[in-house]
């Protein structure tokens, strides 16, 4: 029992450190110094690896824990352990060790996803495995020293396909046209083709990739159950609002990605409408349901969860829309993005305390 509590604390610390390092790196990049970058010897590395810390260190670790909890094999936890420690190595300048640990993490994660496919062979489990394979590809390119232009499309394909697979699974509850699954697969093949192309032909690759993201936003808007569950109450409606807001940013990201491939100044919009607007909005939506499962922390859900969500989306409007006209506004928007994520973390902590107060310490221990 103590071992499990210790393991949860370790994984929580690894994911939390990656998130904090990733956010700090992102802010430094936009010229927001927190704290004074010159007081910290590894500033350069943190700048360089902002994306690696956010995607591999934080999200990769969280998704890796999720998958390991689902397959119930002890070895599957090697994936989040490697991605978390790899991120620490990257943050402290051990580039090669960190990058190869990320490769190992993705390989373990792919193996855990293969277990899921063996247990349940379905379109959505195969897509999950394809997303894991995209993470392996991105991490290999990163370890081989390729730049963001080649690596980012694979890293985001990992996240986007993981989310799309989960949403496809939920659409089975809904009456849908038989073409839904096939159309989604076609869109994701275009996404992977765009990722593969991006390394050699950035213009064509970026166009294909952006188009695929935009088409995916349309697919989700048409087929996802969120359009129905948004009419429900409580946590179901909250999750649907997170999903629908995320889909809107996914559409923006697709257009911006394609525009950036054609030479437009929209790279920051593409990366962060996708990473923050789409992915982090998904994380905020799923956290109240998934955290109790993977961290064994019960949360009291309440309308207060909408506050950090609104903060995230408003801060993205400041950064990505108003920020297109002024660099100080973009930097201010980025600070507000970071504040919104911290606000969400505080909200989750508050919801956990509220649950304990409501149910008493005894109930919390039993859970």
């Amino acid at each position: 029992m103590h071992g499990r509590v210790l393991a949860r604390a370790l994984f929580g610390a690894l994911a939390g450190a990656s998130l904090a390092g990733g956010i700090a790196g992102g802010l430094w990049r936009l010229g927001v110094a927190v704290p004074d970058p010159h007081s910290f010897a590894w500033t350069g590395q943190v700048l360089l690896v902002h994306a690696a810390l956010m995607i591999c260190g934080f999200l990769g670790t969280v998704v890796g824990i999720e998958r390991a909890v689902a397959v119930k094999h002890r070895w599957a936890f090697a994936a989040p352990l490697a991605s978390g420690t790899g991120a620490l190595c990257l943050a402290f300048g051990q580039q090669a060790a960190g990058a190869w640990l990320e490769v190992a993490a993705a390989v373990f994660f792919l193996a855990a996803s293969a277990v899921v496919v063996r247990r349940q062979r379905a379109a959505h489990t195969l897509l999950l495995a394809a997303g894991a394979a995209a993470w392996v590809a991105g991490n290999l390119l990163f370890a081989l020293g390729r730049d963001g232009g080649a690596v980012f499309p694979w890293w985001f394909a990992f996240l986007v396909m993981t989310i799309a697979a989960e949403r496809l699974e939920m659409t089975r509850l809904m009456r849908r046209r038989p073409a839904a699954s096939l159309t989604l697969q076609a869109v994701l093949v275009l996404l992977l083709a765009g990722a593969a192309w991006s390394g050699t032909a950035p213009r064509a690759g970026g166009l294909a990739y952006g188009t695929a993201l935009a088409l995916l936003a349309v697919w989700l808007a048409v087929f996802d159950i969120a359009r129905r569950t948004v009419a429900m109450h409580g946590i179901s409606r909250y999750m649907a609002v997170c999903l629908l807001g995320g889909y809107a940013w996914l559409g923006v990201a697709g257009a911006a990605w394609a525009a950036a491939a054609l030479g437009g100044p929209t790279r920051d919009i593409a990366l962060h409408a996708l990473g923050l607007g789409f992915v982090v909005s998904m994380v905020m939506g799923h956290a109240p349901v998934v955290l109790p499962a993977i961290a064994r922390i019960k949360l009291r859900f309440g309308a207060f969860f909408y506050l950090p969500l609104a903060a995230l989306h408003l801060s993205l409007v400041v950064r990505l829309v108003l920020g297109s006209f002024s660099d100080p506004l973009r930097a201010a928007g980025a600070s507000l993005n970071a504040a919104a994520i911290v606000f969400f973390a505080v909200t989750v902590a508050g919801a956990a305390i509220a649950w304990r107060i409501q149910h008493g310490a005894e109930g919390a221990r039993k859970a």
Binding site: I65, E66, R67, V69, A70, S113, V116, R119, Q120, A122, H124, T125, L128, A165, E166, E169, M170, R172, L173, M174, R175, I225, R228, T229, M232, H233, G234, I235, S236, M239, P288, V289, V290, P292, A293, I294
Partner: protein, 114 residues
């Protein structure tokens, strides 16, 4: 959607007086994303009660879902409230036959636009 639970929604083999309370207990286990209980979604494959064990067979819509354990624990906790103390409770996760939307209750299907 339906409450009290639709007891015809899953095969039951056991003492008649327990049928209704067991179905009601399982109908209190809810998937939070869709606000639907596991009976309405069609996740309960069968309940058998003999002299020693109350055995419930459940499936899930996805093998990749990290919330599986939580739903199983919750089912056990709800069953514990209605099953006589001399009986053991066994909640088993099964993948065969695979779940399909035809297993959803009429109310659930109506809500999802069937």
């Amino acid at each position: 959607m339906s409450s009290p639970a639709d007891t015809a929604a899953f095969p039951y083999d056991g003492p008649e007086p327990l049928r209704e309370p067991l179905a009601a207990a399982l109908a209190r286990v809810v998937d939070p994303e869709i606000s639907m209980n596991i009976v309405d979604v069609g996740l309960v494959y069968g309940v058998t009660v003999d002299a020693t064990v109350a055995h419930v067979r459940l499936t899930m819509t996805s093998a990749a879902c990290p919330v599986i354990d939580l739903i199983m624990d919750e089912a056990e906790a709800e069953l514990d409230k209605v099953v006589p103390p001399e009986l053991q409770i066994r909640v088993e996760l099964v993948w065969e036959p695979p779940w399909g939307p035809e297993r959803m209750s009429a109310g659930a299907r109506r809500f999802m636009g069937w």
